[in-house]
Symmetry: C2
Subunit: 316 residues, 2 copies
């Protein structure tokens, strides 16, 4: 496998770190060599001296010795260009970019099928938690009636801090200092990021892409200290819940602060942890819980997609 990595932020660095640390194990498992051929970076290349670097991602796309592109750029315009060109060229495209897939997924999945290329995105939902494969493969016999979850680490951290007595702005400041929140935290606190993720879960659960504009979205910015106190008095907590449910033929998606009682497992999902709850006709309720963000957890999920590339090489 010959890999090109585009975007070397926190996750990209960790992908390289894990490939270096676990390289031998991975090559043994895959029965083939795994090589990072080129890296496209914007930021300084400290510690990456042994790799071929470029600032121009097109160099990687035009290198036909590369069979697998890992896109960790963020944003949407450049990733869209990368995704299209990679898939059109019949190469494997791996991304953690939920924004890209929530907006352009419908087109990109078709493109992958048409070109017999692979598109994997385990890291896009739930960080390091294996979510997409268990939903798509492990639970496939079920008809899924609902998927919901705590899908954004930053907002869950803020809500946990508020539950502990902090104000919203104190909690947001803490999240920024700890590196959980982006410089612009709008997507996190306004529920947009959660909406991207529930849109992908909905696609896997129900096999149908729902237009992003049809998702009812409310973030956590309107929650007051009073709300949190009232919740506490009821032995409950507000959690930002993304939910996709099927009623009759109707799929509806929403993101909103939701009261979760102490009798539910989701009540105990605090800080930057995520959890996804899947209701299936045969398995009842299944919950997948773990680190929803962070470089090494997300990088682990990215690399787990390399396994899919190998495993699916000769799939029908």
């Amino acid at each position: 496998m010959r890999i090109g990595i585009i975007g070397i932020g926190v996750v990209g660095r960790e992908v390289i770190n894990i490939l270096e640390e676990q390289g031998q194990k991975i090559e043994k498992l895959f029965s083939e060599k795994v090589e990072v051929v080129k890296i496209c970076n914007r930021s300084p290349k400290e510690g990456l001296d042994s790799y071929e670097m470029t600032h121009d991602y097109k160099v990687l796309l035009e290198d036909n010795s590369i069979d697998t592109i890992i896109e960790l750029v963020g944003g949407i315009e450049i990733p869209y260009d990368i995704a299209k060109k990679t898939l059109e060229a019949g190469k494997n495209f791996i991304t953690a970019n939920k924004y890209l897939l929530a907006i352009h997924g419908k087109e990109l999945f078709v493109l992958a099928t048409e070109n017999n290329s692979k598109l994997f995105y385990e890291a896009a939902v739930g960080g390091g938690i294996p979510v997409l494969s268990p939903l798509k493969e492990g639970l496939f016999p079920n008809e899924i009636t609902r998927v919901r979850g705590i899908l954004n680490g930053t907002s869950n951290y803020i809500l946990t801090e508020m539950d502990g007595g902090a104000t919203f702005s104190e909690a947001l400041e803490g999240a920024t200092i700890k590196g959980y929140a982006e410089a612009d935290p709008t997507f996190d606190i306004e529920g947009i990021d959660t909406a991207h993720k529930i849109s992908l879960l909905s696609y896997l659960a129900f096999g149908k892409f729902i237009d992003f504009n049809e998702i009812e979205i409310e973030g956590i910015t309107k929650l007051t200290i009073e709300d949190i106190k009232n919740a506490k008095e009821q032995e409950a907590k507000y959690k930002l819940i993304g939910e996709a449910k099927l009623e009759g033929d109707k799929i509806s998606l929403s993101v909103k602060p939701t009261l979760i009682s102490s009798s539910e497992l989701l009540y105990g999902v605090d800080g930057v942890y995520n959890a996804v709850e899947i209701d299936g006709t045969y398995t009842g309720k299944t919950i997948l819980y773990g680190e929803g963000a962070g470089g090494s957890a997300t990088a682990s999920a990215v690399i787990s997609d390399l396994y899919k590339v190998i495993a699916s090489k000769n799939w029908n």
Copy 2:
């Protein structure tokens, strides 16, 4: 895919039920016909008139039009014979039998490799919860340091009832009436079933089979009402925990009643639910939770292995 099913108890019936209900979906996903060719039953065949039935499992093993054997017999002698002959014949062997694999797994896994046959057993641990695939594939980049879990629904049901005020024998009686406990519940309440399961989790986590006799096993039969009360005073609960951990080069496996504090997610895993907690170097703590027993949940996991059969058809 041409399937033979040996053993038509609660799970076997549900496997057939799901294949009937979801047949069209499954065949579309697999791009091939999925047919139950023969069924081996001991008990009456009500509702199975449309299938070819036999009381002799050897009939299924000798039918070379069958490519996939699903073993749901229980016990160990006959399943061992079925497993060996199926794998030696290069066919796919799917089982929910943890007892069989904990005792003969080492030999059977080698047999599968030697004969290029497939052995899948998702239903053997955690009932309907996707556990083995997420551990083996989703979390594969990690070095796993510990796996532990609530792995036996019957004993967890009993402990939950005792926490609610019942005596051990009242709780056991309740479990029997509700169909959770076997006629002979020894394996459940003495921790043997949990030990079978932790042995399989350990194999997947650490890649090494530990001799079953090396597992330190204590069941729940010695727990008193006093113990439960004391736990409650500490805001904790006793759970029957199976644990496999790696310290240095040493893998150690144990099963014992363990105090779980209310701050842990496992505290909220009650009744017949199971949960598996996996500690990995990159992903930290991942927890998989769901119905650990019951016909339809277990059958869903059995059928998810058919997907593996298809997906792995052309694997290296």
